[in-house]
């Protein structure tokens, strides 16, 4: 399973790679990282249908996570990848907008990796 993680904090890459080191070793999950909404779109255009799941932060400079979500859900029709949005604690407004834009699921900051792993199992 290929997962695209979108976040402007670059250390997220090391963190995910360590948190999922077993899954990566066993080739269960492959991670790709994009550090802005724009970068994520470029990747998706070049590698259509590769990423099964997209995990995206909302607060990013330039294209925000919400704009990215809107883009993905409109442009990648068949079948659109699953998009999980990472929202800040208590940010009900972004939650609502993301839901309207078609977000499939939500994670709250700080990300609970145990529950994320549970969720990934159900997708698989």
């Amino acid at each position: 399973m290929k997962i695209l993680v979108v976040d402007d904090e670059k250390d997220v890459q090391i963190l995910f790679e360590q948190r999922f080191r077993k899954e990566i070793k066993e080739n269960l999950i492959e991670f790709v990282f994009a550090f802005s909404g724009e970068e994520a779109l470029v990747y998706l255009n070049q590698h259509e249908h590769e990423a099964v799941l997209i995990l995206s932060d909302i607060n990013m400079p330039g294209m925000s996570g919400l704009e990215l979500l809107e883009n993905i859900k409109h442009k990648f029709h068949k079948p659109p990848p699953i998009v999980m949005m990472i929202t800040a604690y208590g940010d009900s407004e972004n939650f609502k907008i993301a839901k309207e834009l078609g977000a499939d699921d939500f994670l709250t900051k700080p990300v609970d990796f145990t529950s994320l792993k549970e969720k990934l199992k159900t997708i698989n």
Binding site: Y89, N94, V111
Partner: protein, 715 residues
């Protein structure tokens, strides 16, 4: 007498700066600005006397805060008033212009403006205005050291003030006249007027007036050598300062008490007062009084034959006196040092300081001679007037006596002379009485203005603080978000490290050292990350604390790139938190060769935050009216040139119209909707860069294309 010291003494003696708190003032200037702004949108507002009155009020309140803006407002008001022949408005505007110019130290121009105000108010019988104007003229002449003109104008103002019956004004008038007498060394006359001022201030419970009255009378008794009375008045003045919290006046009183105890040989008490005076002078940052108190402490040590301590304190006091070029104190310092070195048996040093003392004493004597000639001229003017009245009177009586008593001419001549002398004395008394009454009137306006000035100073401080708090509020939301990310990293990396260490143990037990080494590398990397993000959170919290702190303005070596980066993120997240729909691209290019430079980090941070906030605001405004293809962008760049650092903050927002470019650094100027901006951000930024750091703040802009602000700091 040193002319600088005269003015300083005067300001201290009048209790000019009183840190009272009045939020009403802040609101008043702000609401005036808004009112003026709203007026400017109505039709024919420039022909409305209400608009002119508001404009005048605004200029008056700004007269001390920002003399240049105040003068500009007044000039505009003069033009508008002339257009509609509104004489009251015109006179008031000329008067305010004079007041601002006086605060600027531009005395000649101030007098020209005030003369114009007087001409208008006299021609149209606006008596209240004439009184105010005369009072202002007197203040200018006092600052110029022309006591004759000052007192003439005080008396004219006082007469009018009495007709109106304004008590506060009458009290101030008397105080002002007392001050003029005091400055001329006429202590008994000064006492009389100070006491009148005090009595009236008590009647209307005018705290600052009461405090000033007690302190001034105390100083008079001190000069007269009546220490018992002096102490009694100064003690009462001190009690009032407890209520007004006026530290300037308290410093002045403590200094007097120190001098007095020293003169009486009560060195323990003197030392205590001097030390308190020194602490206060340091707190209110008065160089003059710091120097006075340090010299006072040194003198006490000298008297107690503790020569080393004496040398230390007198040198410190003298250094400050020299820094502010205060001849009287320099002379005193050198005299003490000469005595001190003599006592220590160091003849060469004693001689050197004795020579210096003579040099400064001579220079003071020259100044005093000049002052004395002015005083003599004043006495001459007074006596000339009296003589004229006498001559007139003599003529009349002599004629009558020739007709009736011609036969007893010889005898009667003697009698007539006696009679004339008696009558002229009566007349003299009467004239004196009238003069006294006139003098009584002059002082009202002064205290009125003093109070206005005090309020304005307080308002200025409050406005600066409220601007700080406003930008702090903008930052808070950004900080919450900014701090969350590093904390998440700290938590995550530490958790994952724990797991990794468990795995490492397993690997070691299995004897798989290669894997164990690999894992340990990851743990080291994680610990570095934890450290990095911990520091990041720490820097944010520290930055916030520094930002809110009131007056910690110490320059320190600061990494300007890190500071810019931090505030750029804070500004961005702060705006995002306030407005979810807000978004903009931002990028930064840092010149890493800059290194650390010596600045006040929280102040420069405030400027950067303000400029970035403005940039984001501008791009956001443009986005609201632009097609989707518009990409709001803010760019921050730092660069080192020969001996300067440049910080450029550019946006592709609305830009600044050419006709507003000159105004953006003026206080209270804002293009934001009513209530959204204080109009002080750029004005404060400008002061921080130019006055606080000897730098430059420039703007390049094209309307509709964006703006670029450039901060240039010397290194």
């Amino acid at each position: 007498m040193n002319s600088n010291s005269t003015i300083r003494n005067l300001f201290m003696a009048l209790g000019f700066l009183t840190p009272l708190f009045s939020f009403a003032q802040t609101k008043e200037i702000d609401s005036l600005r808004i009112v003026l702004h709203n007026y400017a949108r109505t039709k024919n507002y420039e022909k409305d006397t209400a608009y002119i009155n508001k404009l005048n009020n605004f200029a008056f309140r700004l007269s001390y805060l920002n003399t240049d803006s105040s003068v500009l407002c007044s000039l505009q008001s003069i033009t508008l008033s002339k257009n509609i022949s509104y004489y009251y408005g015109m006179a008031e505007a000329y008067k305010n212009a004079g007041l601002s110019l006086n605060f600027k130290g531009n005395y000649d121009s101030a007098l020209v403006m005030l003369a114009e105000a007087l001409k208008i108010s006299d021609a149209h019988q606006i008596n209240a205005m004439s009184g105010r104007v005369y009072h202002n003229i007197a203040i200018v002449y006092t600052n110029l050291g022309n006591y004759l003109k000052a007192s003439e104008n005080y008396f004219r103002a006082l007469k009018i003030r009495e007709q109106i019956g304004e008590k506060l004004g009458i009290s101030s008038s008397n105080n002002g006249i007392g001050t003029i007498y005091f400055l001329q060394g006429r202590y008994k006359d000064a006492e009389e007027y100070y006491k009148k001022a005090l009595q009236i201030a008590k009647e209307i419970n005018y705290r600052n007036g009461i405090e000033t009255g007690y302190a001034n009378i105390g100083e008079v008794y001190f000069r007269l050598g009546d220490y018992k009375q002096a102490r009694s008045y100064l003690t009462q003045a001190l009690k009032v300062t407890e209520e007004t919290r006026d530290r300037d006046t308290k410093t002045f009183i403590k200094t007097l008490l120190g001098s007095m105890f020293s003169k009486e040989g009560k060195y323990t008490e003197a030392m205590q007062e001097w030390r308190e005076a020194n602490a206060l002078a340091t707190a209110v940052n008065s160089s003059e009084y710091k120097s006075r108190s340090l010299t006072g402490i040194g003198q006490v040590f000298y008297k107690q034959k503790n020569y080393d301590s004496a040398l230390y304190y007198i040198n410190k006091g003298l250094a400050i006196a020299t820094a502010i070029n205060y001849k009287e104190l320099q002379s005193e310092g050198h005299e003490l040092l000469s005595l001190l070195f003599e006592a220590k048996g160091n003849g060469m040093q004693a001689l050197f300081h004795a020579k210096q003392f003579k040099l400064y004493a001579d220079s003071i004597n020259n100044l005093e001679a000049q002052q004395m000639s002015t005083n003599l001229a004043a006495d001459y003017e007074y006596s000339k007037k009296e003589l004229l009245l006498k001559t007139d009177f003599e003529k009349k009586n002599t004629r009558q006596n020739w007709i009736i008593f011609s036969a007893f001419a010889a005898l009667l001549t003697a009698m007539i002379i006696a009679f004339v002398v008696y009558r002229s004395r009566q007349k003299e008394k009467k004239i004196n009485h009238i003069l006294t009454l006139q003098r009584d009137e002059i002082h009202a306006q002064r205290n009125h203005l003093e109070k206005a000035l005090t309020d304005l100073t307080i308002t200025q401080k409050q406005l600066i603080q409220s601007e700080k708090m406003a930008s702090l509020g903008e930052m808070t939301a950004g900080i919450a978000h900014e701090i969350q990310n590093p904390l998440n990293f700290v938590n995550n990396f530490s958790e994952v490290s724990k797991e990794l260490l468990a795995e490492m143990n397993e690997a070691l037990e299995k004897g798989n050292t290669t894997e164990a080494k690999e894992i340990s590398q990851s743990v080291i990397q994680n610990l570095e990350k934890i450290n990095h993000h911990g520091k990041r959170a720490d820097a944010i919290v520290k930055g916030m604390l520094m930002h809110s702190r009131n007056s910690n303005l110490v320059k320190e070596l600061t990494n300007i790139n890190a500071l810019c980066d931090e505030y750029l993120r804070l500004a961005y997240q702060g705006l995002r938190a306030k407005d979810k729909t807000f978004n903009a691209k931002f990028n930064s290019t840092f010149d890493e060769s800059i290194g650390a430079i010596n600045i006040q980090p929280q102040e420069i941070g405030r400027v950067i935050l303000n400029l970035i906030n403005n940039a984001f605001y501008s791009v956001n405004e443009r986005k609201k009216v632009s097609p989707d293809s518009y990409e709001p962008t803010v760019i921050l760049k730092t660069k080192k040139t020969d001996n300067k650092i440049e910080i450029r903050i550019a946006d592709n927002g609305k830009g600044i119209p050419q006709n507003l470019v000159d105004k953006i650094f003026q206080p209270f100027f804002t293009t934001k909707p009513t209530g959204q901006g204080t109009g002080l951000g750029l004005s404060l930024s400008y002061d921080i860069i130019t006055k606080g750091h000897n730098g430059e703040l420039k703007v390049n802009s094209k309307e509709g294309e964006g703006a670029e602000f450039v901060i240039i700091l010397p290194v």
